[in-house]
């Protein structure tokens, strides 16, 4: 395949660069709805909500869980500036399940007005998202 069929995908977080490679398609959770990008897309900039990013490369599909941020799309590259992002391959299910249990435990003891509620709620959602991403990843590959 010629090089022109690929676009460069970069996923970076303040902590590190999570992914940088050539892909053929990217599906990401835009704030106004999920969108898919193929090469030659119109330049496009959007905020992201937390969710699942799928990047299709020639050899395999790459699944990521991202925690909000920005995505810039130009005709031959996609940049995702995420507050947090993790590859499905790097998600440790056991640890995330433990996190989820802990967060849910805490939430049970709190009501919605509690100042700690948003923090634990956020943690629970994050853990759920990661588990879902891993599940989808398993289902596809």
């Amino acid at each position: 395949m010629s090089d022109e069929l690929y676009m460069q995908l970069d996923v970076v977080t303040p902590e590190k660069s999570v992914l940088s490679r050539k892909v053929t398609e990217v599906i990401a959770p835009g704030s106004a709805g999920e969108f898919g990008v193929l090469i030659g897309h119109t330049p496009f900039l959007t905020t992201l909500k937390s969710g699942q990013v799928v990047a299709k490369a020639e050899d395999r599909d790459i699944f990521l869980a991202v925690g909000g941020g920005f995505a810039e799309v130009t005709s031959d590259r996609v940049i995702i500036l995420a507050e947090s992002a993790v590859l499905a391959d790097d998600i440790d299910e056991k640890m995330i399940k433990a996190d989820l249990d802990q967060a849910q435990d805490k939430l049970r003891g709190l009501n919605k007005e509690d100042p700690d509620f948003p923090r634990w709620d956020g943690k629970a959602r994050e853990a759920e998202l990661k588990l879902k991403v891993v599940e989808n990843w398993r289902g596809k590959s």
């Binding site: 902590e15 660069s17 330049p43 920005f70 810039e72 940049i79 500036l81």
Partner: protein
Amino acid sequence: MASLKDLKNRIGSVQKTEQITSAMRMVAAAKLRRAQSDIIAARPYAIKTNEVMVSLVTRTNPDMHPLLRIREPRKCVLVVVASDRGLCGSFNQNVFRRADAFIKENKDKYEELSLVLVGKRSTDFFKRKPVKIRKSVVISNPSYELASEIGDDLIEGYISGEFDELYIIFNEFKSAMTQILHEDRILPVERIESDDEMVKVEYLCEPTEDVLLDALLPMSLKIFFYRALLESAASEHGARMTAMESASGNAADMIEKLSVKYNRARQAAITTELMEVVSGAEALKG
């Protein structure tokens, strides 16, 4: 010739100095390792954020956002990033020299030029000079909070028209031995000059251009300051490590030379004493 006792004292004091400099070298090396991993981790995000921001700004009308407005450059602010502590070779001097040159060059261009001084050393250096100081910041620990604090003040200042252009001078970390001195214009944002049609095509924006600019512009400026702080911190530790290494080397050389001198002086003293004893004995014999 110096007396034996003097030489001995000098050797002792140089040895003490060597101990201190090599301890400082070790501390700097440990701090460098941390600062280096911090900056390497932060770089990709900072660079990409900046790319996205520049690309958005290039496609946007300057009237869209108060931070994009381009005004007649009458007042200018220069951010000077140096260190809190000295003993790091020419690290700070290089920054100050460049800042001085900047001031000299641009003094007549602007009605007013004021400085934001980051790092205690830069405050010490500039407070005796006839320049206006807008703000002095002590670094102690380069954090995103500190970058935010600097950023918020400058963003507000630019929006309310306190100044029209913003420059920064800081050291970029290359390796422990080399730092690259940067002089960048931060505001107004440098637009990409290109004939490429793709660059000029307007973005589709979601949710809206306003929301994106509001979110992205201040964030990317703060991240830029954050990166500058981290780059400068890593450079500082690198410069200190190198400076202390050469200081330790110089001290070792000095000790060697002084020891030779000391041994020679001691030998001379012994020889003199022997001569005295021998000639004394000869005199008694006679």
